[in-house]
């Protein structure tokens, strides 16, 4: 650092020796001049005092060597110009004084130099420290600024809630959601803003878990100043340096549009499933008619039998009654089948209810019996008794069973050997209800096995290719899986699982 004020122009390697020694000469000369002047004016003063000053000045401003040179010079000047008549002892004494003084000055100068060096060092250190601190402060300010930006500019509602359930800080989005300025919410208790009941029942349980140290996420429909909104919120615990939770960071995202569009998607899927059901049922019209015809035929025969018992020469009322009752039973059976068909054709909200899967399977098998008979398919069931009931939409589950049965029948149409369709239901080890439909038909396509579940993939000449796709989406929307395996010695087997409600698993 070449600060011109710091570098004494008479010191350092840059200053030329000439100046320094020149200063020695000049100061001694000045001392001489002063002494002479004093003598001239008869003022009491010795050269020695002036010489010592000159030596001091030289030491201080020019350094040790010039200072010594000044001391020697002063001694010589004193000896030859001022103390001519003094004794040798006095001269030696004076020389000694100059020597001692010179030595003292050497120490003084050395100390001063050392001091200056240390001060420079310290200054440099302090400057470095200062710079580091400034950098840290700048970094910290930057970080705080960014954090503040995140807080203020986030498109999600961001807020901090203390352990006392009061708002510590809220961002503009949250303020807007509740229709109040952000400042007005600071310090407010949550219950004051959202309502005591809402707070206690819907928010507090999650908040307490968060304040106990858990990261919580939940999503649901809420009512705020913007109306009925679907909000996905996360509560994260904020810890102090002592690692205690001192606040909860809440980030809440408005997913209303997403929820509405996924609702629309669900509706579209339901519509598609419904259309598919209708189409399939349309293909089954002849068989369904036949199926209804059976109990109607039985009812007609029962009524005819009743009439015959009554019109005999010896009427038998008991037999007639029995025949009539049989007719009633069969007529009711016919009505049940019609109702079953009607509920399958109905377009409605997907209604989940507790359902007995085996019952659903049996009903569907009965409904399709004419169709399986038409192609000489024998149907076997291995339905595990005592299966738990599941939460499902019965019509949709039957649609899946219907689809798999129809596929099995189709696969066996070209096969001349025994045509067997087997339907099994059982509870697997992992608590899932598994239904399997296997056939002895042409089997799964070798090359495109994975594609059979794709939309519009079909191996049938007049197929649309949506059946398995829809079946899979129905099964998956219930939380299950649908997959296919080969059946031995030939044919295919389709399995699907439906999860059992946890209470039932216990």
């Amino acid at each position: 650092m070449n600060n011109p004020e710091n570098v004494k122009w008479t010191r350092g390697p840059a200053a030329s020796a000439a100046w320094r020694y020149g200063l020695a000469l000049v100061s001694v000369a000045a001392a001489l001049g002063m002494a002479s002047a004093f003598i001239y004016f008869h003022l009491p003063q010795t050269f020695g005092a002036f010489a010592l000053s000159a030596i001091a000045v030289t030491f201080w401003y020019a350094g040790t060597a010039p200072g010594i040179f000044a001391a020697v010079l002063s001694s010589i000047v004193r000896d030859y110009l001022f103390n001519v008549h003094t004794s040798t002892e006095s001269r030696i004494l004076f020389d000694l004084v100059f020597l001692v003084f010179a030595l003292l000055m050497t120490q003084v100068v050395r100390s001063r130099n050392e001091l200056e060096r240390r001060v420079a060092e310290r200054t440099a250190e302090l400057t470095r420290s200062n710079d580091n601190l400034k950098r840290e402060i700048a970094d910290r300010n930057q970080a705080e600024y960014l954090t503040g930006q995140v807080f203020e500019c986030s498109p999600d509602a961001v807020l901090i809630i203390g352990t006392d359930y009061r708002y510590k800080r809220v961002n503009p989005v949250h303020a807007r959601n509740w229709g109040r300025p952000a400042e007005s919410m600071v310090g407010m208790h949550m219950a004051e803003l959202v309502g005591a009941e809402f707070f206690e029942q819907r928010l507090r349980p999650f908040l307490d878990r968060c304040l106990a140290g858990e990261s919580v996420r939940f999503e649901d429909w809420f009512d705020n100043a913007r109306g009925h909104r679907f909000i996905s919120a996360t509560y994260s615990p904020l810890r102090s340096d002592s690692h205690e939770v001192e606040a909860a960071l809440v980030i809440a995202r408005d997913l209303t549009e997403h929820a509405l569009s996924s609702e629309a998607l669900r509706q579209a899927q339901a519509d598609l499933a419904h259309t598919s059901r209708i189409t399939t049922m349309g293909e089954l019209t002849a068989s369904l008619a036949h199926e209804v015809n059976q109990p109607i035929t039985a009812a007609v025969m029962g009524a005819s039998t009743c009439v015959r018992w009554l019109t005999r020469d010896e009427p038998d009322l008991g037999e007639a009654c029995e025949a009539a009752q049989g007719a009633i039973r069969n007529a009711k059976r016919a009505a049940e089948i019609i109702n079953r068909i009607r509920s399958i054709l109905k377009k409605g909200e997907s209604k989940r209810q507790l359902a007995d899967v085996n019952e659903l399977i049996r009903e569907m098998i009965a409904l399709l019996r004419s169709e399986t008979n038409r192609y000489s398919v024998s149907v076997h069931t291995e339905l595990d008794a005592g299966l738990p009931k599941i939460m499902a939409d019965p019509v949709q589950v039957q649609q899946v069973v219907m689809n798999l049965i129809m596929n099995g029948v189709d696969a066996m149409k070209e096969v001349d050997q025994t045509r067997e369709l087997t339907i099994r239901s059982r509870l697997s080890d992992d608590g899932q209800l598994t239904i399997s439909v296997s056939d002895t038909g042409v089997g799964l396509p070798q090359k495109e096995t994975g594609r059979i579940f794709d939309a519009f993939f079909t191996t049938k000449p007049h197929g649309i290719g949506m059946g398995l796709r829809i079946s899979r989406s129905i099964v998956e929307s219930h939380g299950g899986r649908l997959w296919a395996t080969d059946n031995s010695p030939r044919g295919a087997c389709f399995h699907f699982t439906l999860p059992v409600p946890t209470e039932a698993q216990e």
């Binding site: 007609v300 029962g302 399986t372 000489s376």
Partner: protein, 125 residues
């Protein structure tokens, strides 16, 4: 192999329980004795072909169909007068059945008098 021993029984072959049951009840009140079979295979396996005077059978069944049963019986030279009862009364099938020797082809639900008369006629052959 000829089946010309004394035959008295009316055999009913239908996979539907209610049809079998009510048909048997109807035949009973009409004065016939009948045996019911769940499938064509059961009937053939029963060995009662020779005692069967009349066969009433559905067409569409799992396993062997009614028409196949008729063909099998014809092949065994066991000519049993056969009445078909079926909900699938299409013309082609009716023609085939009658040409193969069926006595009657009745669509379900059928008139009980027609059935009883057909059975009676078959038994008097």
């Amino acid at each position: 192999m000829s089946c010309n021993e004394e035959r008295k029984i009316v055999a009913v072959v239908d996979d539907d329980d209610s049809v079998r049951g009510t048909l048997q009840a109807l035949l009973r009140v009409a004065g016939f004795s009948s045996r019911a079979f769940e499938s064509a295979e059961d009937f053939l396996g029963s060995g009662l072909q020779r005692e069967t005077a009349c066969l009433i059978t559905d067409i569409r069944m799992p396993g062997m169909s009614g028409l196949e049963l008729q063909a099998r019986l014809n092949a065994e030279r066991c000519r049993i007068p056969t009445i078909f009862i079926t909900a699938h009364g299409d013309e082609e099938m009716r023609f085939r059945a009658l040409r193969a020797g069926a006595v009657e082809f009745l669509p379900k639900p059928f008139d009980d008098d027609v059935l009883v008369e057909s059975v009676r006629a078959a038994l008097e052959r």
